[in-house]
Symmetry: C2
């Protein structure tokens, strides 16, 4: 008879294996860790998953994660309400905030246009975005989707839709990362760095 894990251990490994970047070997390592860890750690993780799913929903305005009706960022009157940054995912807001370079509001698309995957404008939070713009008061939309093919296409689509409304549409710059080395830069990044060059 070949040795098998107890069913509940197999189930735990399978569930952990659904996490992004977690293959079968890592899933097994995590499962064994959870079995050997103090009871409070295992129970704490299980409870945290449930509590987060239960208490966190989407902000009624920007669509980011929040445990209140409207997220603290949308409620913050000190932020510039005339400047709106469009991002793909809620986590992108954290990256932007970490840079401490943007003091406006946000709008989460929940993805990017991807005809190959059947994701059209109706699958994204585009209607909500246009509604916010039609409500007035916004003078510039900064499109901060990722520098991927889909991210660029989505930026183009937004520019085409929003410019006629008389609102400025800008795109975050792409180029060499700070501390980056020409030798290790990929062609696409280098190409964007070149086309985005400016006078010194």
């Amino acid at each position: 008879m070949f040795y098998r894990y107890p069913p509940s251990l197999t189930e735990l490994i399978n569930q952990l294996g659904k996490l992004p970047g977690v293959g079968p070997k890592t899933a097994a390592r995590l499962a064994f860790h959870l079995l050997a860890a103090p009871e409070a750690d295992a129970a704490g993780l299980a409870a945290a998953i449930g509590a987060a799913r239960k208490s966190i929903g989407y902000c009624a305005i920007c669509g980011s994660y929040t445990d209140t009706e409207v997220c603290p960022l949308c409620e913050d009157s000190e932020r510039d309400a005339t400047l709106l940054c469009v991002v793909e995912q809620p986590r992108d807001i954290i990256s932007m905030e970490r840079s401490r370079s943007f003091r406006g509001r946000y709008h989460v698309l929940n993805g990017v246009l991807s005809p190959m995957d059947g994701i059209g404008p109706d699958r994204l939070r585009m209607t909500e975005l246009f509604q916010r713009l039609e409500n007035g008061g916004i003078r510039e939309v900064v499109v901060a989707t990722n520098p991927s093919v889909e991210g660029e296409a989505t930026a183009m689509y937004l520019a085409k839709k929003i410019k006629p409304m008389g609102i400025r549409v800008t795109r975050i710059a792409h180029g060499l990362p700070v501390g980056g080395d020409l030798e290790y830069a990929d062609e696409a990044t280098l190409s964007l760095a070149l086309s985005g060059r400016h006078d010194l």
Copy 2:
């Protein structure tokens, strides 16, 4: 005001960050995945952790994980009861079984001797091991602890204790892994491969 995660999301990230090999960035990625994933996936993982912790205990004989009093391996009468393989962790049994080269029984030490960390023989399942040997019927103990300093020291310790009982003590071989390349082998492995050389 600087943007903060909702407390329940922070808690989820903290709990995920306790997993081995999961740093703050990975923990955040996993947390966002769990928020965006189908409810069944998040609930399934939380439930699997609880179920595994509840149903899985230690085998009364070998000390491996099992959901029964005695694990299937220890109950399998077709396995050679005269041959006992000593491993550090329950997961090492899986590795051994995968090789399909060992048909005896196992004993889990739950670690290795490590005076630096204050781990002496009393902190490991040594008493249980010696008890099994004293019960008789075992003719050879294969020590399969890892080829680390502590693993080797533990193997030496076991040999010193078990040989006087008239039981053969062997050590799994160390050397170049199959498919390995001399050029990339570390000195310690190469040294073991040399000292373990055999006639052709």
